[in-house]
């Protein structure tokens, strides 16, 4: 038994796989184990992260203050115009509301906020408590919608009703009520909707620029730098491009069924996946516009000509270093594995909060022998894996950062709070720079783990 054995719960053994040791067989998509300190969040969180970046919609959290307080200005999702999304609205339920019901309070809060901010639509989130006291969100939303003449959409995101995935689903259902209600005249035959990009640090603008250069119109950003009106006419686009594993695929599926808009899964992280995404989109439109293939080739060539010499410098330092990945959705992990490979680095551990069996099978395919693959992990496991594999860098979000740092391991934030764009070709360069600036820092030679500095050991 290895060192990790003592920290792994028996119930979780099947959610951890070591490539090469036994045939691939992994459990996932289970409820988090009580007491295991899962890194996962809740249904509400899933809905909140998806709808958050719609900059001209009002997001009202119907519940006690915590749910709204912890999601105030939480993402680096940029807007080119309005910034209503950066405010945190709550009904701040009190004891009497719990006892007597809070529909009237919700009605008054909604009315007040809509009058004050004139949003293009309002989303009203249900939280755990609302699911228990049974406020009729649907009815209140209907009443306000008819009075205020804007869409007011309930989001059924009671925290306990599953994990983030169910939250994504609730958000998609709410957004779907907007789709198909807008005017689609004037939309180009060569047009897409960008799904599952949240414009963190302006990433979506990088991608939109690529499509512009290819001659493709972007109809709706879902949801980075998003606008209600765009979502309402999104059904007019020729193709939906879905990034980010779970977040928006359900909306794409619903649009396919109801409006016949096909979708394609893409990733904008790393050189390989970015280029592949553009080529696939070009391939989709080549019958309508044969020149698009050549334009896309030019674009990729131009970008790579700029990128490769720069990357080479980082590659020299980083080659052979070891990386661990733990992210929310597994789809991002695929790209990260490839991105690290491009930098000459080895991925020795990779995991996600909400991956599916298909996702983990794919990770199993693309990783090296001995790589640890893990679903819904926790600090004890993650720290033991980092140590066992003697990692040089860990990629994750805020909750993973102190685990790495405490052990003297480098870190790269690949989550909502990042301030550097990591998508697109330029994003790959930023990623390499960030990985480099952590891995190559001199501070590691002083930490106890490296032990080369006598004064650093207790």
């Amino acid at each position: 038994m290895n060192a990790a054995g003592s920290v792994i719960f028996k119930e979780r053994e099947n959610q951890i796989h070591r490539k090469g040791r036994e045939p691939f067989d992994m459990d996932c998509n289970r409820e988090s184990l009580a007491g295991a300190v899962s890194q996962r969040a809740c249904v509400f969180c899933g809905s909140r992260v998806v709808l958050y970046p719609i900059a001209d919609a009002l997001c009202l959290v119907h519940g006690p203050i915590g749910c709204a307080a912890y999601t105030w200005d939480i993402r680096g999702a940029l807007s080119s115009g309005p910034s209503l999304h950066r405010l945190s609205f709550s009904t701040d339920l009190q004891e009497r509301d719990i006892i007597f019901g809070a529909e009237e309070k919700l009605y008054r809060a909604l009315t007040e906020l809509i009058e004050r901010h004139n949003p293009k639509a309002a989303f009203v989130y249900s939280t755990c408590i609302v699911g228990i006291i049974g406020d009729d969100l649907e009815a209140v939303c209907r009443r306000v919608a008819s009075e205020k003449k804007i869409p007011v959409l309930p989001v059924q995101s009671e925290g306990f009703k599953g994990n983030k995935r169910e939250g994504y689903s609730a958000a998609c259902k709410a957004m779907f009520r907007l789709v198909g209600t807008g005017d689609t005249t004037g939309i180009s035959d060569l047009s897409v909707n960008i799904f599952g990009d949240f414009n963190l640090a302006g990433e979506l603008w990088i991608i939109r620029d690529y499509f512009d250069r290819m001659g493709i119109e972007t109809v709706a950003n879902i949801t980075g730098d998003g606008r209600v009106e765009q979502i309402m006419r999104a059904h007019g686009a020729a193709l939906n491009l879905v990034q980010c594993s779970g977040a928006t695929i359900e909306l794409a599926q619903m649009m396919k069924e109801s409006f016949g808009v096909p979708f394609m899964r893409v990733s904008y992280f790393g050189v390989e996946d970015m280029a592949q995404a553009l080529y696939e989109v070009a391939g989709f439109f080549k019958d309508k516009d044969p020149g698009i293939i050549e334009r896309t080739r030019e674009l990729v060539k131009d970008e790579l000509t700029l990128l490769y010499p720069e990357l080479q410098k980082f590659r020299e330092d980083l080659s052979g270093k070891k990386a661990a990945i733990y992210v929310g959705g597994a789809f991002k992990a695929f790209s990260l594995v490839k991105a690290f490979r491009l930098l000459g680095m080895k991925v020795v551990m990779v995991g996600s909060q909400t991956g599916t069996e298909e996702d983990y099978r794919e990770l199993h395919e693309i990783t090296d022998e001995g790589t640890i693959i893990v679903d819904d992990s926790n600090p004890l496991e993650l720290s033991s894996f980092l140590k066992e594999k003697d990692c040089d860098i860990f990629v994750g979000g805020v909750k993973e950062r102190p685990i790495a740092y405490k052990l003297g391991v480098g870190f790269c934030d690949h989550n909502h709070e990042r301030k550097q764009p990591l998508e697109g070709f330029v994003g790959m360069l930023n990623f390499a720079r960030e990985v480099h600036s952590s891995v190559m820092s001199p501070v590691w030679r002083f930490v106890p783990r490296r032990n080369s500095c006598p004064s650093a050991t207790p």
Partner: protein, 453 residues
Amino acid sequence: MEHPPYVSTTNACKLCKPLGACLAFRGVEGAVPMLHGSQGCATYMRRYIISHFREPMDIASSSLGEKHAVYGGASNLKKGLRNVMTKYGAGLIGVATTCLTETIGDDVPMIVREFRREMRDSGLRDLPALVTVSTPSYSGTHMEGFHAAVRAVVEQMSEDEKGAQMLNLLPGFLSPEDLRYLKEIMDDFRCPSVILPDFSMTLDGPALQEYEKIPRGGTPLEDIRRMGGAAATFEFGATLQDCKTAGKFLQERFGTPLHSMGIPIGLRETDIFFDALEKLSGAERPERHVLERGRLLDSYVDAHKYLFGRRAVIYGEEDLVVALTSFLTEVGITPVLCASGGRSGRFKPAIERVTAGIAPHPPAVHEGTDFRQIEELALELSPDLLIGHSKGYTLARKLGIPLIRVGFPIHDRFGGQRILHVGYRGTQSLLDRIVNALIEGNQNDSPVGYAYM
């Protein structure tokens, strides 16, 4: 008492109750905080706390799903307790409820009693201490949760150990740096003491070779047990008087004399603390603290002209705002607005107490408020500076005035866990920061570009 004129809350100036409880539990040796509720609560709070302290903060959860919400969460709570026991080897598990489990009516103390019995029946001896606290987020803020958890620990752990030659110190929610400094003071007075909670190590620890499942440090359980026999209890927090706090419990249950006082910031409040320490320890204050006080007073004089009449908005936790306000009035700054998301009903009288006779006029006091209202008021009051946690940044930016970052959370600067607020030394550091922020403003705004200010 001023209530916001709105029904909705925009940009809250408070956090939820269980977060405070988790922080308090984190300050007990060998303790793992655990939330009885859905998984998201624990994760959100961890993220929020980690972003401030930049330290691991494990909060276990009973991770309730839909069927538990319908049929009750007892089985998952027990399973969670068992898992935390076996994997973390916790000495204490602090179970805080959430709005979900309060509303579905789970009787947590009873479930925990059952769990204890079941464990004993199965032959398990070394059970960790299990402390439960009720923290529904729909009543009160993180500070009520914090104090409730401290009281729960004391209530459920301390015993009547007559003649324990020590003092209890219940500091409230201070920074790890504050806690280290308080320990230093107690040591200097040669005063054996128990500080509860004490997360000076657990939330600001050294770099490590091995990941600690539960970080070292925290108030030793053995000391908590002896708190009932201490010579006296100090409890910080100007709005806590006559509340059901841990100090009050020790007084009522064991007759331990309670010295309730404001958080010691500024000369007057710190003097109260040191005077009480002198009296109880029977020792005079050590020379280094006399000198620190002297230097602080000296710098009050050196700084006074930079500060006189400058207008400050102070916001955040009620007790911290009261203490800061008390200090600011001493150096001639005019507090124009004291605001908190808390709603204890004791905020305004406490502010009046510390500003009476020294501030030119009493500041506006708003409790139960949010940042939208603070902004509305601030725009009319034209303050020169803001003092509070980092969530006031947007307002400071809008007003073009400095924000002096204190308290929790500090999400946009480095070293929030090492900000010193209390005592002569903490006041000195606050004073230096405030004076420099104002001088910097004068310097930057000057067309001359003076190099002497």
